[in-house]
């Protein structure tokens, strides 16, 4: 395993751990000031300019999302889901402007009110190296069921 790939994997595992733990502030810290969090809806290759997404948020949206989840009145996370996700198949490449692109797959088990749900898909992170660490510039989550009927997905994906 290359040193870069190992560092990127560690970063993705850390992000996953913070999301699983509902560490909203800690998760937000991983993002760059200028960033985009995108979960396409209905298909993977939609144009967000003309098609709705499940999530299409810049930093302002992420801050609102996290403020809401931590504010004590987000009924859909009271109680929060119990979450456990596995990130794998990580492939790393260096792209333009010193950015690193990480392609991975994930499998996320969510449990709430006696109901198990499985979420799975691909992720593409664009990361900007910051010293020994990274910041997320862009994260896209391609859910396998993005065209299916979905219920409560308000935890951090």
């Amino acid at each position: 395993m290359s040193a870069l790939r190992e560092k990127v994997a560690d970063f993705l595992f850390e992000e996953a751990a913070r999301a699983d733990a509902h560490d909203y502030a800690g998760w937000l810290e991983l993002w760059a000031e200028e960033c985009l969090y995108w979960i396409p809806c209905n298909d993977d290759d939609i144009d967000p300019e003309t098609h709705i997404s499940i999530v299409y948020e810049t930093r302002v949206g992420l801050q609102d999302r996290v403020r809401r989840l931590g504010g004590g009145y987000a009924h859909s996370q009271l109680p929060p889901h119990r979450l456990s996700r596995v990130i794998g198949n990580i492939r790393v490449s260096e792209i333009e402007e010193g950015l690193v692109e990480a392609r991975s797959t994930f499998n996320l088990t969510a449990f709430r009110r006696d109901r198990f749900e499985i979420f799975a898909g691909r992720m593409v992170h664009r990361l900007r190296p910051e010293g020994d660490d990274f910041r997320i510039v862009r994260k896209i989550v391609y859910l396998v069921n993005n065209d299916g009927y979905m219920s409560n997905m308000t935890f951090l994906m």
Binding site: T50, I52, I54, D147, M153
Partner: protein
């Protein structure tokens, strides 16, 4: 099946019995009587703009194909091969040249006509292909909003909707400078473990938002300083109306800024250009009507609503399982930034990860849990009942937090459920 009389006794003017949300027999009777014997909403013509475009939809339990044919006509075809009943359309959406049954190769045109039967020489001479086209539901539309019924004896769509609902649909369509809506921006597709009527009542409920959506309103206040709770207190000047036949609407124009209804937060210059193009197309007086109407919600009995930038289709699956599609509408001829803003605004609140609607789904599921407690089995719909006002135009109006819509909806429910069942 429970008898019609048993069912209607479950609804009183100001309360409703919990079994209407829980009971299996009542649920099946709802599908028979409400969904499969009267008008239901199918979709918007702007979802299928090109010949061959189609969507799978449902009339109650029955699968239909919502399709635009070769001539550009919108059709609602029963999704059942006339041979041995295979579903001829098996994808949720797409574009097709026709529908070919995968089982024995019977081929239908987009208008439903049977085009080909393989190895037809084994059928007798009197076998008439012309009688074996896909069956059509009776369908009619207003401003592209298409409804269908399996009942050939049903009233006309105009009678079902009434003048007030048609005027509301006109107001939505005229948000487009071309008077035409498109619905090609996808759909949020949601499922919850609760009865379909919980979503129906919620979509026109002005009392819940300050509690169910407090987390979103806190965000808006932190971000913009605007206190959205003003809309939904008993001091709010916003109103709710019973438009007849179970259809209901909100009007928040007394509180919300002009243009709120465009559901766009594009820059001021873009909004001005948009409004200018509207005036050029529809005239100032009409535009004042359309844009002066703030934040309206519309519910059309039994399975349609319009909220924000989208319409919804409610699909009952089981007494405690419902599917909902949210289809955003874009405005043909409006600046791309306006339509883009409508989509972004929609995403913030709606969808499975949105900051608002997911809390509604959670409320529905808790509601379904609470309904099972039967020592006091009635839900109270009393709020504002003694303050309702009948207008000269036949509509009945109340304050936004009143349970006037619930009463209107259940009055319609009881009326339809008590209709004699044909033998």
């Amino acid at each position: 099946m429970a008898s019609a009389a048993d069912i209607s006794g479950l609804v009183e003017p100001e309360r409703v019995h919990g079994s209407v949300y829980l009971d299996d027999e009542i649920f099946e009777a709802e599908l028979d009587r409400i969904f499969e014997r009267h008008w239901v909403f199918i979709g918007h013509a702007g979802e299928i703009p090109e010949p061959g475009d189609y969507r799978q939809r449902w009339i109650g339990r029955q699968p239909v194909i919502f399709v635009r044919d070769q001539q550009g006509e919108v059709r609602v075809l029963m999704n059942r091969c006339m041979h041995r009943a295979n579903a001829v359309c098996h994808q949720e959406r797409g574009n097709a040249k026709g529908f070919t049954c995968p089982y024995h190769g019977w081929r239908y045109r987009l208008d439903g006509a049977l085009a080909a039967v393989p190895y037809a020489d084994r059928y007798p001479e009197q076998f008439d292909r012309r009688e074996l086209g896909l069956r059509k539901a009776r369908s009619e539309g207003h401003r592209g909003f298409i409804f269908a019924t399996l009942n050939l004896d049903d009233v006309s769509l105009a009678e079902h909707l009434g003048a007030h609902v048609m005027a509301e649909l006109d107001d939505i369509a005229d948000l487009s400078p071309e008077g035409e809506l498109l619905a090609t921006a996808g759909a949020h597709r949601l499922r919850y473990a609760g009865n379909w009527k919980l979503q129906v009542e919620n979509v026109i409920d002005g009392y819940h938002a300050n509690f169910a959506h407090r987390s979103h309103y806190d965000n808006v206040k932190a971000r913009t300083g605007f206190d959205m709770t003003e809309l939904g207190t008993s001091a709010s000047p916003a109103t709710v109306s019973d438009l007849g036949n179970g259809h209901c609407s909100w009007d928040s124009s007394a509180l919300l800024a002009r243009g709120t209804r465009s559901f766009s937060q594009a820059g001021a210059d873009v909004q001005q250009a948009y409004e200018k193009s509207l005036v050029a197309a529809h005239g100032q007086e009409r535009v004042d009507q359309v844009l002066g109407k703030g934040g309206t919600h519309l519910y059309i009995w039994p399975n349609f609503s319009y909220v924000g930038a989208h319409f919804r289709i409610f699909q009952p699956i089981a007494p405690a399982e419902t599917q909902v599609q949210l289809v955003p509408l874009t405005l043909k001829g409006a600046p791309p930034e306006v339509n883009r803003s409508r989509l972004r605004m929609h995403e913030v609140f709606y969808g499975p990860a949105g900051n608002g609607q997911a809390d509604d789904l959670e409320i529905f599921e808790r509601n379904q849990i609470g309904l099972a407690a039967s020592l006091a089995p009635w839900s109270l719909l009393t709020r504002g009942a003694h303050l309702e006002q009948r207008r000269n135009d036949g509509t009945v109006t109340g304050q936004i937090t009143d349970e006037l819509p619930n009463r209107a909806i259940f009055r319609k429910w009881a009326e339809v459920m008590a209709e004699p069942v044909p033998a």
